[in-house]
């Protein structure tokens, strides 16, 4: 009943033609660009990888084998686990969580400064300076980081010059370059939602808390962070989802022995031409990340609606 009224208002405000076009475009986006591809992937993930001739034939039935492969590998007896793929999966999730936490820690002070430094032209300039590097292609940025983190790169040169290390540190092998690259790739998606909510915090709230005797740590814990929670949640969701689903950065900055789960998915699709298996891996990643996000939101008592703020 209520929903009906909302649509009635929408048509009254925009006119029948414009209203239909707008709703049609939203429906198109949702159905054709979001729902249908996901459903087809879901469908793929439950089918056998058959040669074209047999597709749609009697052998083309639904199966769980693609999912079983992730857990047990090619072992038909289900005695041993597919430790390699499972470890890659676990590592990807844990690393994505770490990258998200790293970005929260890095962005919070910056967002607080930008959001509360009102009337300072510098804050605006700083935002522009933060955006400009993102005009550069993602892959190019990843390669630039690879050079910076390389044996003869800026960081190693500087460390050796300062005699902090006698020989170059292998940042790539230790995955430090990868985490730095992922953290950097999506940092703005963390910064801007945080900045927006912190900017909307009334300065008097901070002063009132201060006047009532609160220390700076308490002000942040009791006033600023609770206010910024929706922004932090929204930024974290995006950074976590995108880090876990990143492909280019791990490809370029990942160490020789470390695979990202998306690289496995890519291999199934591209190298093995087994789309069904790839789809199953992709679905597992999707469900896992959504479950983790929902759980964490539940723990921190953030509503889904708050994230859109």
């Amino acid at each position: 009943m209520k929903r009906k009224l909302i649509f009635a208002d929408f048509f009254r405000n925009n006119g029948a033609l414009m209203g239909s076009i707008l709703i049609g475009l939203v429906a198109f986006w949702l159905i054709v660009l979001v729902i249908l591809p996901q459903i087809s992937m879901l469908d793929y993930s439950f089918r056998f990888n058959l040669p074209p001739a047999e597709q749609g034939g009697p052998k083309d039935v639904y199966t769980l084998s693609n999912y079983q492969h992730l857990i047990y590998g090619s072992d038909e007896t289900h005695q041993s686990f597919n430790t390699i793929d499972l470890m890659v999966f676990l590592r990807t999730i844990v690393a994505a969580i770490m990258v998200t936490i790293f970005d929260i820690i890095l962005c919070y002070p910056l967002a607080y400064f930008l959001g509360q430094a009102r009337g300072m032209g510098m804050a605006r300039l700083l935002v522009v300076l933060l955006i400009i590097p993102y005009w550069v292609n993602e892959i190019l940025r990843a390669f630039a980081l690879r050079i910076i983190f390389g044996d003869g790169g800026l960081i190693n040169e500087a460390l050796m010059l300062l005699h902090l290390t006698s020989e170059p540190i292998d940042f790539i092998r230790h995955d430090i370059a990868l985490y730095a690259g992922l953290g950097y790739a999506y940092i703005l998606l963390m910064l801007f939602p945080m900045y927006n909510v912190i900017e909307s915090l009334d300065r008097n709230q901070i002063e009132a808390a201060r006047d009532l005797g609160a220390s700076w740590t308490r002000i942040h814990r009791r006033i600023v962070i609770p206010h910024a929670k929706p922004g932090i949640a929204s930024g974290s969701t995006m950074v976590f989802m995108l880090s876990a689903g990143a492909l280019a950065t791990p490809q370029i900055l990942g160490g020789p022995s470390s695979l990202w789960f998306t690289q496995l998915v890519y291999q199934w699709f591209n190298n093995s031409l087994n789309w069904q298996q790839g789809a199953a891996y992709a679905i597992v990643l999707l469900v896992a990340t959504i479950t983790i996000v929902m759980t964490i939101m539940k723990i921190f008592r953030v509503n889904m609606g708050d994230i859109g703020k």
């Binding site: 008097n204 002063e207 009132a208 006047d211 308490r218 206010h227």
Partner: protein, 370 residues
């Protein structure tokens, strides 16, 4: 409850770059006083409040609370509590958590805090509302929560930055009485910032009137109204008719002034300016609308002016009669409503008697702009 603690401003200057926000403020506020800083917006009164609460340091001079110099002591360490213009309640905390925030800071247990918050809620007549969120309360209720929150910190001095300005007229008048009662009950020093002279006069023991960073006069409401020290105070506090002219003669505390258009008038020199005026000086004479009366039978008894009626307004308890004035503004006369149907028609010349006891003369100066 704490008892009143004195607040002293000693030669306080506050500058922002080249701009002087407060110039040489010397104020001694007695412990337990309800003291107001009154002035138009931008006169520096909020700046003074921020200097007392510790959010900014004076460029020169000293702020003393209870005799102790506050230099270098942050707002969280001062025995003051500030009520903000927009109240600044914490929207995500329940009412009782808001009120007891200062106890939380000191590490009091939840049970202790709840108990104290409930006591304060009872005091401000909001018993049983502790578990609500600020957004669930009305404007007046939020106001009282803000007062309770500030009082919970057991401050020696409560600072109020125009806290009533967001309320509607009826509630504002009610809260005036309530604030005054709370102040008398807790007995601590209240320092109140306002641009509303009605608020300042009704609530305060003493008022400082400020103009462009300068304190023009400090005194009780009655002193400020009856004996303004400067033309600014005379024109800013309450309504006043101004007559400009030159001093013709001085006789003790009385002076006679030759006005530009309304003849020769005699009145008291305002106390603050006695001995500072000489014959021939440019002067201003201020007459309150209620100090003007109709001269009986139109006879000239000496201290009278004649002017034509421009307009008349009925305001319930009074009639306001506007007459052709000395300058751009008409002369305003207030007459009590004693059952007359009207006072005079437009264009009719009236002879007005000036009550010299409540009329003051002072050197000419800048008036408050409307």
């Amino acid at each position: 409850m704490s008892t009143g603690v004195a607040v002293d401003l000693e030669n306080v200057w506050i500058k922002f770059g080249d701009f002087v926000a407060v110039r040489e403020a010397n104020v001694n506020i007695k412990g337990g006083d309800f003291f107001s800083f009154l002035g138009p917006s931008g006169c520096g009164k909020t700046t003074i409040l921020r200097a007392i609460s510790g959010f900014l340091d004076p460029s020169e001079g000293h702020v003393r609370i209870g005799g102790r110099d506050m230099a270098g002591i942050g707002p969280n360490k001062r025995p003051t509590a500030l009520i903000f213009q927009n109240l600044a309640l914490f929207p995500l905390m329940k009412i009782w958590e808001n009120i007891s925030f200062s106890m939380e800071v000191r590490g009091a247990s939840a049970a202790e805090r709840r108990k104290r918050a409930d006591e304060l809620l009872d005091m401000v007549a909001l018993g049983g509302q502790g578990d609500k969120l600020p957004s669930e309360l009305s404007g007046g209720q939020k106001q009282r929560v803000a007062i309770a929150r500030a009082l919970c910190a057991n401050p020696d001095v409560l600072l109020l930055d125009e806290p009533l300005s967001a309320l509607d007229l009826k509630l504002r008048q009610h809260m005036r009485t309530e604030l005054r009662e709370i102040q008398q009950r807790v007995g601590i020093t209240f320092i109140y910032i306002t641009h509303d002279q009605g608020e300042a006069l009704t609530m305060s023991d003493n008022v400082a009137v400020m103009k462009a960073g300068v304190i023009d006069q400090i005194g009780s409401g009655k002193e400020i109204y009856d004996a303004p020290a400067t033309p600014f105070v005379a024109s800013f506090v309450g309504e006043n008719n101004v007559f400009r002219g030159k001093i013709r003669s001085i006789d003790g505390t009385r002076a006679t002034i030759e006005t530009n258009r309304s003849g020769v008038l005699t009145a008291e020199i305002t106390p603050a300016q006695r001995g500072k005026m000489a014959v021939g000086d440019a002067a201003m004479l201020f007459v309150r609308p209620e100090a003007l009366t109709l001269a009986e039978g139109g006879t000239d008894t000496g201290n009278t002016i004649s002017a034509k009626v421009v307009n008349e307004e009925f305001e319930g308890n009074t009639f306001s009669v506007f007459l052709e004035g000395d300058g751009a503004k008409p002369i305003k006369m207030s007459l009590p409503n004693t059952g007359q149907t009207r006072i005079a028609e437009r264009g009719k010349p009236l002879t007005l008697h000036i009550n010299p006891q409540t009329t003051v003369i002072m050197p000419a100066g800048e008036l408050a702009s409307d």
